[in-house]
Subunit: 452 residues, 2 copies
């Protein structure tokens, strides 16, 4: 069984229809008008499952970015609500994990805990929750609030929110429900554990009106890369989605976060780090480069400037597109998307790029790892990052759908399998099994085991 | 085409697993341990579709009723979250409507509007929202609130909530999205309509980040039968779920509500009234009565008293079960479930029932119409109510699942079809089509049509 000692990649399929490239919707092969069509998502989910992906991932936000005209006219901003879509996909898939974003800033822990618990039951233990704290004032304005919560406050609220949600998942012990028709015992009352939480942000009594999830707790994903984000992740995350354009940066981050686990009593393999990967696949390197150039050429100037304005949180629409970036504040002064801000700012300053050059550089991968080449070249990079201590897997961001995912599954996955770094069949029953994450023991059972 | 002049029944399948009878879970044929199992719900949804039902309905509440020990031990209180479940069923059905409850008291309009809009898109126009204002203090305690909002305040909030949600569904005109790759026009900005709502309860800017629902607006259902509930329904509802044990009461309610429509400029057929129907089906009347008696005999005393305590909002666990009901307050003094309270109170007082007799009377239908008999007898009653001006259809509440629904579809539906009062094939494309409800014209299009 020598093969078991080779590290194994974890793979996520990041669904962003019609594609991760900002101009994907103009690409001839992108199915841009199918953004609300269940049929397309079914096909994609089944493709991901054929490719033995660990999970499908759906990002989210609670507003249409409409600060700039181009945001509505040239950027896709209306999409299905992720949990609703994932539930629909639960009944037409059998193995792939189902990960959705839900914000702790504009939700209630009872609702979020309950929906993910339900998804976990209905999918037979395949649910994962990407915990975010939201980004924009526009989101606050849709929830009767004047402005977005400050960065520090958001993270405090997020920490308590996750604590309440996991407490609610433990409302019932695993064997609390007896269904004993003969003796008229539906449930064992001694195995119900109301939460009685009274915190700074929430008061939640419980118990949850859903039995304990199949996985104990759905898998917890996080994506913050700021100092507060890394600390929260080290404390509570089981998967991290992150963005690094180069191996050295990714390796530094990987060592940093894994190094924080011990102080919370956690083993290194209890947290899986998955950077985003934007793959542009060609039969030859030239074909891949040509495809990338065709995508880039489709970016309207206004859309590019709008994308960049959102990432640096500053209106650039009045600036000379072939001039330099204006001076930007220090990252610490930015309230939202702080780590992405820093990454983009550094890229622009380091290489002295014009506004046009900078938006072209990020209109595809948006700061994530970008590989343009043959399936073997893409697999080379993935293997190098995996074996080089830079990641445990990747969140795959196809430039356009469905073709970009189809090609990855048809050409790159077999290449990874041939190298022995990716599964050829699904193992285990739940998403946790596939990710190698332990099922959380119920606190009452843990206490019982200790006192024995 | 004489048949078109015969009124046609609308039918809902009210899914409450393992059954509507309080002791259903003890019934031998009930699949009580499958309450979280998608497989069971898939089968039931496909049965409802085979039976040509208009819709499947899922009720909801946000707490476990645990005031009394028996509530946890002998009553089913943990079930799937309705919207999550309905989404999962959207992808394994093609025709049947998908109706879920969501409370306006403990939700945000942006989230609710978005989830139902998404369900409407993914299901091809089959979504319906049952608007409720919630009932219990226990629910408040799960959302950082000390007590449940007062009745009047709840209805004020509900009215504004529905107004905001429908406004968000109109965020985009039907043809706002162009997907014009050639001319780089994804959307027409002039067809985006942010809401800019600033009300007493909510401030919501919009636009919604989902395109206009297939049905324009998902169908709006309500269930309140109090004065405030009836008025809100006459103003905003398209379907009413209601509970009446006898034809005269149902007929009075029907005339009352339909009579309120004119003052809001609405036609009588723009609101569909569907009382609940609890059918106990036997090949003979005797077999049906025997089945009902077997179900009733399964109700443990504690569960019966608990059910009754919840309905009259008063702890009866210390009372003599074979004695009379204690004096109860006037309905006006009750904050939640007011109309159901009144119905149960009146039933007990009118017939001078003991506590045991009263809980036995309501442990099945809970105040809804109950018919125990052959398929022909059940069809007789349904036809009598339909032709007698007491309803436009029924929300079917099988005593136990899956058998109670199977029997209804196998034996009662053909009986209704033979009488020409129920469809034999699905007509139209959306739930609105099936219910005969008009698709709401977008306000901008309506204004344009007027000014022409």
């Amino acid at each position: 069984m020598a093969a078991t000692s080779i590290p194994q990649l974890k793979l996520g399929a990041f669904f962003l229809i019609p594609g991760h490239h900002i101009a994907a919707w103009r690409y001839p092969e992108a199915e841009s008008a199918s953004v609300m069509d269940l049929g397309l998502y079914k096909r994609l989910a089944q493709t991901a499952e054929r490719g033995r992906f660990d999970l499908i991932f759906l990002a989210d936000s609670y507003s249409v970015s409409n600060r700039y005209p181009a945001a509505i006219e040239q950027i896709v901003s209306a999409r299905p609500e992720p949990l609703t879509l994932l539930s629909a996909l639960a009944s037409v898939t059998s193995h792939v994990g189902l990960a959705a974003t839900a914000s702790t800033t504009y939700n209630e822990p009872f609702h979020v805990a309950r929906k993910f618990a339900t998804l976990d039951h209905l999918s037979g233990g395949r649910a994962a929750w990407n915990v975010v704290t939201s980004k924009y004032d526009e989101e606050a304005h849709n929830f009767s609030q004047g402005s977005h919560l400050l960065h520090e406050k958001r993270y405090e609220r997020a920490e308590e929110f996750v604590r309440v949600a996991t407490g609610l998942w433990d409302s019932w012990e695993d064997d609390a429900f007896l269904y004993d028709k003969e003796n008229a015992k539906y449930a064992d009352r001694s195995k119900a554990h109301p939460l009685h939480h009274h915190g700074e942000w929430f008061s939640v009594k419980g118990p949850l009106n859903v039995s304990r999830p199949v996985q104990g707790h759905p898998v917890i994903i996080q994506a913050g890369a700021s100092e507060a984000g890394k600390e929260l992740a080290a404390k509570t995350a089981e998967v991290i989605f992150t963005a690094w354009p180069t191996l050295p940066e990714a390796r530094t981050f990987y060592a940093d976060v894994k190094g924080r686990l011990a102080k919370y009593g956690r083993a290194a393999d209890s947290l899986i780090i998955m950077p985003g990967l934007f793959p542009v696949i060609g039969r030859t390197e030239e074909e891949a480069r040509d495809k990338k150039a065709r995508l880039d050429a489709l970016v309207p100037v206004e859309a590019g400037v709008t994308l960049l304005s959102a990432l640096v949180d500053r209106d650039l629409t009045g600036c000379d597109v072939d001039g330099p970036l204006p001076d930007l504040p220090q990252a610490e002064a930015v309230n939202a998307g702080r780590s992405r801000f820093q990454l983009v700012k550094e890229l622009g300053e380091r290489e002295g790029l014009t506004i046009r050059q900078l938006y072209q550089r990020i209109s595809g991968a948006r700061g994530h790892l970008e590989v343009v080449g043959t399936p073997a070249q893409i697999a080379d990079t993935m293997e190098e990052w995996l074996l080089g201590g830079a990641c445990d897997g990747f969140n795959i961001m196809p430039p356009y759908f469905p073709g970009g995912l189809d090609d990855f599954v048809e050409f790159v996955v077999p290449e990874l399998q041939r190298r022995g770094i990716f599964r050829t069949e699904y193992e285990g029953a739940t998403l946790r099994d596939r990710l190698g994450l332990a099922r959380p023991v119920h606190p009452a059972a843990a206490a019982g085991a200790t006192s024995r």
